[in-house]
Symmetry: C2
Subunit: 126 residues, 2 copies
């Protein structure tokens, strides 16, 4: 089944905030086989809604949404699930899955720990 | 010179959002020699201001602030630098340094790429 992975960032009215996400997405998209999209929850385009609409129009029938968030607060526990629920109603032929945020991934947490320790001039015990 | 590293998160009125930051800080503090604090820019306690006051009272004279942010938008380009400038005026004997956000660190970016690829069921070319 045709598949795409959406990286979901918060969004900001500040283009300087969005730039690193766009660079990250572009660089990673060239390294990966999988169809990879970048979308924003609010304040920025492309929105989650327009991205899902575009993908389903292109024939994608399975979409996973990976939030580029450190933690799941109100946005990821309430706002985004409501957005996804509405998208499921609008795109009944497409399977939409909202994943836990990257911040909950053990590899992400360990990399963050290594960056913090390096900043402090320490090597972390393995 | 006595040194402390402050991990600066955004802050949220939602305790569920703060919990992973607190777990991360606690787990990492036990693995590191360096004095490690967690503070919030807004909406949560301890604030950056109260954390710096506490550290300087304890005799710390060099503090680095590492933002746990994916990207530098208005908060990190304007709000936090203004907070740090005010803190420097209030604590003239302490050297305060605001670091770039972890999201700009190459090791962080590479770890994020690996998490994304793993989610898509791919191995990234090295």
């Amino acid at each position: 089944m045709s598949y795409s992975l959406i990286l979901l960032a918060h969004g900001s009215s500040d283009p300087a905030w969005r730039a690193p996400f766009e660079r990250f997405h572009e660089a990673l998209a060239t390294r990966m086989q999988t169809s990879l999209k970048l979308a924003y929850m609010e304040l920025s385009e492309p929105s989650l809604e327009s991205s899902v609409a575009e993908l389903t129009s292109a024939g994608i029938r399975r979409i996973e949404i990976l939030p580029l968030f450190f933690a799941a607060g109100r946005h990821l526990r309430k706002d985004v699930p409501a957005q996804v629920e509405a998208l499921r109603a609008n795109h009944p032929d497409t399977e939409l899955t909202l994943l836990p945020p990257v911040g909950e991934h053990p590899a992400f947490i360990e990399a963050l720990a290594a960056v913090v320790a390096e900043q402090a001039g320490e090597a972390l015990p393995t």
